[in-house]
Structures are given as C-alpha cells and as structure tokens.
C-alpha cells in the first residue's frame, strides 16, 4: 500500500476516533486522493450492509426472565432473607432463636472448616473444562496487572519455574463471601490453586495442613495476606510452594 495513503487512520477517521487535528489532515487528504475516497466509500457501504443485516434485537422477555431467575438463584443473600421472613412468620420467640442461630454461625474466619471446604470445592470446580484460568500466562507481568480493577488489592503473583512450580495463570474466585484472587501453579502434572486476599487478622500464622475430598490444603497468614493452597500433590510439595511464596528467592 502506498505510504501516503491514510491506511488504518482512514478507519479511525470514519469511526470518529481521530483527534481534531488529525481528522482535518485526513479530510484534506481524502479530498485529493481518489484511492482513499474509494476505500472510504467501501467502509461506509460495508457499515450500511452490516447494520441492515445484523439489526440488534432486544432480548425476548422470556430470556430476560431466565437471566433474572438464574441470578436470583445464585444470590447468596437469598436464603438468609427467606429465613428471616420465615422466622417472623413463625412468631417472635421462634424468630429470636432462629436468627440467633443463623447469625452467630456466620463467617467463621479465614481458617474455618467452612472456608476449607469452599477452598476444596473451588479447586475441584477450577479443574472442569475452561474454568482454570481467566488469564492464562506463565508471565507474572501479564497475570498480575490482570487483577487490577477487579480486586481492591494487588495479589502477589510469582513464578517459580526454576524451582519446578511454574505459573499457569490467574482467575477470580468467590470465597467466604468475597471475590478473591486465584493464582494457579503447576508441579509436574498437578495443578495447585493458591487463593489469596487481605487477612482480617494481622497476626502471622504458620502454614497449617488439612485434607478434604482427597486433596491437601495449606493455610497461613503472612504479611497481612491470608493464603490457602489446595491440590492433589503431596503435602510436602504444598509446603515447598508455601516457603517460596513466604520468602521468594531473589
């Protein structure tokens, strides 16, 4: 293509994406260049054909209802609200007892058994097709920025390829009622999910192993972050990853 033609800038001109100054230049060029004029006409004709062929149709009322229904089914607040209503219907005394039971059993902290089973469930879910990573990359400079704007904190993302624990990517996960970062590592053929979020308690704690559904978990708090590792690898391998995360090699 001739260097003096507008090229891609012609598209930006037609899309109103050029600065005022560059748009003026483009317009001046167009006035004197039949090649670019033809191209301009083609883009416009194509736009007309596309808009005619693909008139956006509003989603049907039935589909909108389906969307609403599936979102409401997934609302974590739904059961508690229903319970509150049911409790009041059952009378004040029953309500008091029921509500006390419900609200005192609520989130058990970062080391709770409830959270441990959520961690295991999240790991198993992530192994299903196409759910492992939202951003698949072994480059931590790709994975780390991906979390920006999605989380109110910046999760530590490291690569330990040299140590046999290669970074696979990251995704968002929902644990303990909040969105958290999931960073995925691979040891041999085994995948390890590392979940991390700002700890509610500031006190560091040593890695504590656990098991569930045949998987190993490891939980600790360090540098103000709560960590959960989960995988089907041997516990020693999780401990090794934990040491690397707690004190990254320089």
């Amino acid at each position: 293509m001739n260097e003096s033609h507008l090229g891609d800038a012609l598209h930006a001109y037609l899309d109103n994406e050029l600065s005022a100054e560059r748009a003026l230049e483009a317009r001046a060029h167009l006035a004197s260049c039949t090649g670019c004029q033809r191209e301009f006409d083609r883009i416009r004709a194509l736009r007309g054909a596309l808009q005619q062929a693909l008139t956006p149709t509003e989603p049907s009322a039935a589909f909108v209802r389906k969307l609403q229904h599936s979102v409401r089914q997934a609302d974590p607040g739904r059961w508690r609200k229903r319970l509150v209503r049911a409790a009041w219907a059952a009378g004040p005394l029953a309500a008091a007892a029921l509500l006390l039971a419900v609200f005192t059993s609520q989130p058990g902290g970062e080391a709770s058994a409830e959270l441990a089973s959520e961690v295991v469930a999240a790991h198993l879910r992530s192994l299903q097709a196409d759910h492992l990573t939202d951003v698949a990359s072994s480059d931590r400079h790709t994975v780390k920025p991906w979390f920006q704007g999605k989380l109110p904190y910046s999760p530590p993302v490291l690569d330990f390829q040299a140590q046999g624990l290669a970074l696979q990517g990251g995704r968002m996960e929902y644990l303990g009622g909040q969105p958290v970062a999931a960073v995925v590592y691979k040891s041999g053929q085994h995948l390890i999910n590392a979940f991390v979020w700002p700890a509610a308690q500031q006190q560091d704690s040593a890695p504590r192993p656990g098991t569930g559904s045949g998987l190993h978990t490891l939980h600790w708090v360090s540098d103000g972050m709560a960590w959960w590792l989960v995988s089907d690898v041997a516990e020693a391998e999780l401990q090794r990853l934990a040491s690397l995360l707690r004190a990254p090699p320089q």
């Binding site: 293509m1 090229g7 891609d8 800038a9 012609l10 598209h11 930006a12 899309d15 994406e17 090649g35 033809r38 191209e39 006409d41 083609r42 883009i43 416009r44 004709a45 194509l46 736009r47 007309g48 054909a49 596309l50 808009q51 005619q52 062929a53 693909l54 956006p56 149709t57 509003e58 989603p59 589909f63 909108v64 389906k66 969307l67 609403q68 599936s70 979102v71 409401r72 997934a74 609302d75 974590p76 607040g77 739904r78 609200k81 097709a129 196409d130 939202d134 704007g149 999605k150 989380l151 109110p152 968002m172 929902y174 909040q178 969105p179």
Partner: protein
C-alpha cells in the same frame, strides 16, 4: 428495604443484555449457544459483582461475555488460539487496491447483499475480527471500550477493524462475484 445484591446487579447488568447477546451471536453459532453464553456470563459477572469497582459496566460485562464465548468456541473446537494471526508474516490482503477489478460503485455492490450473505461472510472471519467489527458497527462501541473488552491496546483495535473490514469486504465481493459472473 435495602435492595439485595441480585437486584442491584440486575439494575446495572440488564440494560446491557442486548449488547451481550449481539456479541455472543458474533462469537458462537446458533441462538441457543449465544443465549447460553450470555446466561453463563451473567452468572459469572454476578459472582464477581461485589468486587466490581470499575466505571464501565458495559465493557466489564462484555469482557465476561467474550470470555464465555471463547470458552464455548474452544469446547466446540471452533477456534484457533487467539492471537495466532501474525500481521507481519501474514499481511492483510488488499482487495481495495486491486485496480484490475471493474469499478462497481461500492454502495451498489453491497446494497444488493442480503443479510444471510453478510452473516455467512462474517462467519468466515477469525473471531478476533468478528468481535471487533460487530462491537464497533452494531453496538457503536468506542475504540477505548473495545480495547477494554478485548484487553488489547487501542492501536490494535484500529488495525483489527481495518483488517476485519477488508477481509469482510473481500469475502462479500467474492460471494457476489461467484453469484453473478
């Protein structure tokens, strides 16, 4: 009564259901698959909703629709990995500079094209060009929005649109040429 998070989510997300469907239709084949993609995306978006701190709900939602769309394409084995197009190695064809073609007025050429041909032609494009063209021409997204949805630089949005339109135009002229020699 305080609105539940589901109601709050619906207030923000439902107005973009149409754009979500348009993008899903551009990525996957068939209305049923497109609706599945949007439904999955809405659920996923709702899951992350409390962590959503951005200012552009449409771009945020469409980026999730896009991820779900590509996931389904991969599952169906319908896509090559994104980004396999190498602009340097594989330069854009330039049907537009072909002076040998008899000069038909462009508008006249495309006016006679029916919507099925347009959809078929669009279907021959790699997904990364389909999405850029449809987001721009049908949903009138700005380059900045497309950049955010697809997670690419604005300059790449421009080159994908340019390349996508050229490919599409070439495809349509070829169809046209085949139909009326």
């Amino acid at each position: 009564m305080v609105p539940s998070s589901a109601e709050e989510f619906e207030r923000i997300a439902l107005p973009h259901a149409r754009a979500a469907l348009t993008l899903a239709r551009a990525l996957v084949r068939g209305e049923a698959d497109a609706e599945d993609v949007v439904q999955e995306a809405f659920l996923r978006a709702f899951k992350y909703f409390r962590g959503f701190a951005g200012e552009h709900p449409r771009a945020w939602l469409l980026s999730i629709v896009r991820n779900e769309g590509y996931a389904l394409l991969r599952k169906r084995g319908l896509t090559e990995a994104v980004g396999t197009f190498d602009e340097e190695r594989d330069p854009a064809p330039s049907p537009w500079s072909s002076e040998a073609r008899p000069e038909t007025p462009e508008a006249a050429l495309l006016r006679a094209v029916d919507s099925r041909s347009v959809q078929e032609a669009l279907g021959t494009l790699p997904a990364e060009f389909r999405e850029a063209v449809v987001l721009r021409e049908i949903e009138q997204c700005t380059y900045r929005e497309i950049a955010e949805i697809v997670d690419i630089p604005i300059g790449t949005v421009m080159s994908r649109l340019s390349r996508g339109r050229k490919l599409l135009y070439a495809q349509l002229s070829a169809q046209k040429g085949g139909a009326s020699p």
